[in-house]
Symmetry: C2
Amino acid sequence: MQFTAAVVGLGNIGRYAIEALEAGTDCTCIGVVRRKESIGTDTLKLRGLPEFASIEELEAAAGRPDVLILCSPSRQIPGVAGEMLAKGYNTVDSFDIHDRIVETLNALNEQAVKGNAVCISAAGWDPGTDSVMRALFEAMVPVGTTFTNFGRGRSMGHSVAARAIAGVADATSITIPIGGGRHSRLVYVVLEEGACFEDVKKAIQEDPYFSHDPLEVRQVSMEELPRVADASHGVLMERVGASGKTDNQHLNFDMRINNPALTAQVLVSCARASVRMAAEGKRGAFTLIDVPPVQLLPGERMTNIGRLV
Amino acid sequence: MQFTAAVVGLGNIGRYAIEALEAGTDCTCIGVVRRKESIGTDTLKLRGLPEFASIEELEAAAGRPDVLILCSPSRQIPGVAGEMLAKGYNTVDSFDIHDRIVETLNALNEQAVKGNAVCISAAGWDPGTDSVMRALFEAMVPVGTTFTNFGRGRSMGHSVAARAIAGVADATSITIPIGGGRHSRLVYVVLEEGACFEDVKKAIQEDPYFSHDPLEVRQVSMEELPRVADASHGVLMERVGASGKTDNQHLNFDMRINNPALTAQVLVSCARASVRMAAEGKRGAFTLIDVPPVQLLPGERMTNIGRLV
């Protein structure tokens, strides 16, 4: 199966999604949808692709894509995805606000059914492939505790959330694992002129993205920020428990990755799955734990079974 | 959803499958099918369950189970599963002869369609949950190499294969990882009276289960064998490669487990999924990489999405 995709949003993830589509053997990116005011800026990231201010303009110029890869900030995803699904486009997104996933999925499901389309939401690495690990770990070891230890690494979601705080000109948030699935946050902030550091710090502390964890906020200059804002990240997922009545079963998943590159790759793999699911007649909004893993991969099912099972 | 199961075969895996069904909150084991000549032996393993010499006798006495958990030796699985599927029973098995999985799946698919049933085959940990890991790792990091390093631990499939060699009274085979996804095998054999050790060693070396790896065969007495035949096992799966055009992505899965307990637990989780897939109208033979992970777990889909995604 070959498929076409359009990328919506040209931030950090959008840029890597274009590369992942270029690297894929069964997919083609036919264009990028961006905010009107961004058109013509940062064009190197487009890697030669045409850019458009709306999906309608893209479709008129480049044809209808099989799937849209939504790379807008998480807080905009429910709106953007709902709109595109209602218009009949299959969509994938890496919406990452964990405690709003169920309500978002229910809302997107309604739009997807209305638009006769397939949505795979929350499809990055956490939520996303880590969610598959957690499900699989429970299927293998039903009794026990899973710890998901993130980092050390920069959280894109938390960085965006910090940047949205009044008085913050720019920010980057580092997640530091402190064991047992708990984390502290180290937030580097560049203040807007005239902003008060103590006010900004308090606002970050009260933001739902940060209010549950130990927090340190450090003020840096705009020149210093890029020197702490690398994209390295990782996770150590640990589960110890019982299979049936047999204890002492140990499962560990450890990964060290470029964060937006992995997120974008998972989006592209899910884009492939969404096109397959749509072709099978499925409609609605799904997460990665709803997707048969073989549908994420290029190539024929039986060939992949022979290679991987 | 609640479901009922019957266990077919009361070897090592069958015994643990009974325990896993007993530990499950949404499932009931209604009986065990055994070879006629075994009825009445080793009854402690039954944990109070009734035993029968055929599925027909079980059904007449205990009702029709939603799914059969096939715990016969791998080499008997294609026959047993085919027969049960043609009779209309959903089945799960942990068939583990990797290079015969595709042909077996095709044959079982035909029987399952004929019988209007669902089969999940090759559903242990390797093949099985490791297969899901390999698929997921490729979806995350499409370019690179995955090494699956087994052990140190006793391979049930290899032990059964060694026991089938002429002149072998009993045997246990230990898998030792030697790096890069390669392994050596250490086989402890108890000889039948009059058997020649060199002949047995040669026959093991030529068996397709052993012919590809470095091999050591050690002769032990029937009294010594149980002291080397523990059920500890594990795997270290490693993948390094590129997501899109970004290299240096590192994924590792490491588990240390009681081998038959995990295999049996995976079978029970797949039994649950097979009943769900049958209820959705699916028919045919599948592997674990065809199964949406959420279907492996007890409880409602949206509750599990809220908990795990």
